[in-house]
């Protein structure tokens, strides 16, 4: 079973490596034209040749592919960004932490919130509290991330001036300690709320349904008969068994969720991987695109893998 799972990951990795090379190059447009744009007016043919040489673009595509493959797989070297003139890893390391901060905080918050609301709702299935929660969350569910984000931006930043309009921190403010932390959280708030709101309904609905399925089970009846406290039955006996689908969902939908986060970054000009990849796309910065996509894919695979392990554990620990 485990071997089968591992070979699955290996196949996924090979496909990712291939696609990462092919997809960027399928886009029309070459890196030098894309990067030099208006400045092409002073791009002499000699300079162009020198640049093609420098970026390895003068080699045939097959040669470029084997170069990429051997560098990535054998040397774990993600290459050199054309646009930033720096190693891909160095560039990515400036942006990845912001994405991880946004992603992890929103993942944890939306899962926790969805868990609690789902348990409460499912426990009182079809009663007043449940119906109200369901209504509210279905309304949120109907709004795409871009609408939620833009609304938050317009209301809480442009109109009420409560939050900054974008970015991850105040530039050159030389804050330290607590002030620095508050500044970062202040900038994080709107993209974070956007992501939490967009993900909350699905984890809530899942938890609610799963909870409803569990409360009728004999072991809950048993716990009740034992005279255990309501909260204990709800959370320890009920929710623990009902939460497997929620954890599975974190794993399965992590990729989609990551995609959403990259998108939200662009609404708030949050300097994470979404912003970086978008720019790399416009610049046709092949190595940076390859490297960023590969790293993100690896993160998704890793999360899937870890989710698998967690599910195994929770499953075994069940009643």
């Amino acid at each position: 079973m485990k071997e089968k799972r591992l070979s699955g990951y290996l196949i996924a990795l090979i496909i990712i490596l291939l696609l990462n090379f092919i997809l960027p190059r399928l886009m029309p447009g070459d890196p030098i034209t894309a990067m030099y744009g208006d400045a092409l007016t002073e791009l002499t043919p000699e300079l162009r040749i020198a640049l093609e040489e420098r970026y390895g673009l003068s080699k045939p595509l097959v040669g470029q592919f084997f170069n990429y493959l051997s560098n990535t797989v054998l040397n774990l070297d993600l290459g050199y960004s054309f646009y930033y003139e720096e190693s891909v890893v160095q560039v990515v390391m400036n942006y990845l932490p912001w994405t991880l901060l946004l992603l992890l905080t929103s993942l944890i918050l939306s899962t926790l919130l969805g868990f609690v609301l789902g348990v409460e709702s499912g426990w009182e299935y079809n009663q007043r509290k449940d119906r109200l929660l369901l209504l509210i969350l279905l309304i949120i569910n109907g709004m795409p991330g871009i609408v939620v984000g833009s609304l938050l931006l317009i209301i809480f930043s442009w109109q009420l001036s409560i939050f900054p309009t974008g970015g991850a921190m105040t530039s050159h403010a030389s804050y330290t300690g607590l002030v620095w932390l508050v500044d970062i959280l202040h900038h994080l708030a709107l993209p974070l709320i956007t992501l939490v709101l967009t993900r909350l309904p699905s984890s809530y609905l899942l938890m609610r349904n799963s909870m409803f399925g569990v409360i009728e089970q004999p072991f809950i009846q048993l716990a009740r008969a034992k005279g255990l406290k309501q909260e204990r039955i709800k959370y320890v006996h009920g929710a623990r068994n009902a939460m497997i689908p929620l954890i599975t969902q974190v794993g399965i939908r992590f990729g989609t969720f990551l995609g959403g986060a990259l998108f939200v970054e662009n609404i708030f000009s949050y300097p994470g991987m979404g912003t970086l990849i978008y720019q790399a796309l416009l610049n046709r910065d092949y190595p940076l695109l390859q490297g960023s996509l590969l790293l993100l894919s690896l993160i998704v695979l890793l999360v899937n893998f870890v989710t698998g392990l967690v599910i195994d554990r929770v499953d075994k620990g069940g009643y």
């Binding site: 447009g29 034209t33 002073e42 002499t44 309009t165 970015g167 991850a168 050159h172 046709r284």
Partner: protein, 517 residues
């Protein structure tokens, strides 16, 4: 008691502001000035590492000075006190300033100038083409001669006014300037020194160079930050100057902000694939010019924020613009007549000839303008299908002549008329790449060699006439760009644009007290 305190506070604020405004005219310094930008990161501000667009050059130009520079009315001295051209031997002499130090305290001399030209010939810099420079000679410590391989009229505007002079004692050892990011890499002679650059946040932090030879910097700390809501942040007082959407201009003006609009040095063009029938025929291209309502493009497409294109390409604001040019008024009937003269007849509302019907694809980056063009052409009897692409895809398709019609734009139309050579002859997707009219080629080559302005102007006007006659692309319009500021700094627009023609108000001379003219 509290109320009294409040009143005193308010009063002192009002008096304070009044005092500040008064003193602003004399010697006052601004402590911090914040400039907003939608993109944020324009690269590390050294010649080889800034991204090769205008804003990248501007950030670099705060640190590195050139031999000469431009203000609102034309060339002014920078590192060179004065300059002259010796026609017979074809060289420029630059007399350099003697009171200049590099930011690290080392003295600036002519040797640095000689070094810079040699260095940039070995390590080409995308903003300055040095092909016309034969050699640079040091006459004495403060005089250099730049010999040209042939008379080259754009020299001052495109070379002397653009090449950033580098300190030899730092760069002599640097073999890979594209990888040089140490702190010494940003030692220049300019009015500002880089204190911090943050690529991820897209921000730059500069401090004034108090020893600047050209005058005291007005602003102590200069900060460039990324913004996605320039109008909002300006109004909140978080930024002092930003580029704004034309639609926001009125409300910002009402709120008391200073609004500036530059010259029309950027053009959007309708490009034809002249290697393909029927665009290879001049008459057909002219028929299209009569079919497109350029006034509607400006009024409806740009909501009035722009100027109709001149078919000579050069912006009417430029001193190089031709006074008289062939005109193509909006006249659908005339357009139809021209098309019919070419043997086309209408079938189901679309012109056809044999098995060829006038149905084309129009490549573009945005669809509002293209929709109007599509309607205009449909009215005449030409069907157009619009395809929206990003800039890189569009440029590559044009570059490979893999298109029928395309909308593409470029700047540089206020500076040296050498832009005509680049946009007519050069192998560049923004250029029409037309080499079939020998008279046009001859005149283009000739204009580069005429050092005397009035004589050059005659040739440049002639070129615009031929270009308009051939009509290798239709210049659709010059859009207006707006900048809004809170009035802290008396910004101005540079004659012909900054350096090779950047149409922004952010000239470093606005940030210093100018006293050397």
């Amino acid at each position: 008691m509290k109320k009294l305190l409040l009143v005193i506070l308010l009063l002192s604020l009002v008096v304070g502001i009044g005092f500040f405004n008064l003193s602003n005219n004399s010697e006052a310094e601004v402590e911090v000035l914040k400039i907003g930008d939608q993109r944020g990161d324009w690269g590390y501000p050294t010649p080889h590492r800034h991204y090769l667009r205008g804003p990248g050059y501007l950030r670099m130009s705060l640190i590195f000075d050139t031999l000469i520079w431009k203000d609102e009315s034309g060339f002014v001295s920078a590192l060179a006190e004065d300059w002259s051209y010796e026609e017979e031997e074809n060289y420029f002499t630059f007399n350099l300033r003697r009171d200049v130090n590099w930011h690290d305290g080392t003295e600036f001399t002519g040797q640095d100038v000689v070094f810079t030209f040699n260095y940039l010939q070995e390590n080409p810099y995308g903003w300055a083409n040095l092909n016309a420079v034969e050699k640079v000679e040091l006459i004495d410590d403060y005089q250099v001669r730049v010999y040209l391989s042939q008379p080259y009229a754009p020299f001052l505007e495109r070379v002397a006014g653009v090449v950033p002079i580098l300190p030899e004692h730092i760069w002599a050892e640097i073999e890979k300037p594209r990888e040089f990011t140490a702190t010494e890499a940003v030692v220049g002679t300019g009015p500002y020194q880089l204190a911090e650059y943050n690529r991820t946040q897209g921000s730059y932090f500069y401090q004034a160079n108090e020893d600047y030879y050209g005058g005291d910097p007005i602003v102590e700390e200069l900060i460039f930050v990324k913004t996605n809501s320039p109008e909002v942040e300006l109004q909140r007082g978080e930024l002092n100057i930003v580029e704004v959407m034309p639609e926001a201009v009125e409300s910002l003006a009402e709120a008391g902000f200073e609004l500036m609009t530059g010259n029309h040095f950027w053009a959007n063009k309708l490009m034809f694939n002249q290697h393909q029938e029927p665009f290879d025929q001049r008459k057909f291209r002219q028929a299209l010019a009569h079919a497109i309502n350029r006034e509607e493009l400006v009024e409806r497409g740009l909501r009035g924020y722009g100027v109709e294109g001149s078919q000579g390409l050069i912006s009417p604001d430029s001193k190089w613009a031709a006074k008289e040019l062939p005109e193509y008024d909006y006249n659908p009937q005339k357009s139809r007549n021209l098309i019919e003269e070419l043997g086309y007849s209408k079938e189901d509302g679309v012109y056809t000839k044999g098995d060829q019907s006038l149905e084309f694809t129009l490549l573009t980056q945005e669809d509002r303008i293209s929709e109007i063009i599509k309607q205009n052409l449909k009215q005449v009897g030409i069907e157009v299908e619009i395809r929206v692409l990003d800039e890189a895809s569009l440029d590559t398709k044009i570059d490979n002549w893999n298109f029928d019609l395309a909308i593409s734009g470029h700047g540089g139309l206020g500076g040296d008329p050498m832009v005509l050579n680049q946009m007519i002859l050069d192998d560049d997707p923004k250029s029409v790449r037309f080499k079939e009219n020998q008279q046009l080629i001859d005149q283009l080559e000739k204009q580069l060699t005429i050092m005397e302005q009035d004589r050059r102007l005659e040739v440049v006007e002639d070129i615009q006439g031929i270009y308009a006659e051939e009509l290798l692309a239709i210049t659709l319009y010059y859009p207006e760009e707006y900048w809004a500021s809170d009035g802290t700094i008396p910004w101005f627009y540079t004659a012909g644009g900054i350096a090779i023609g950047i149409p922004h108000p952010l000239n470093k001379l606005a940030l210093i007290e100018r006293d050397f003219d």
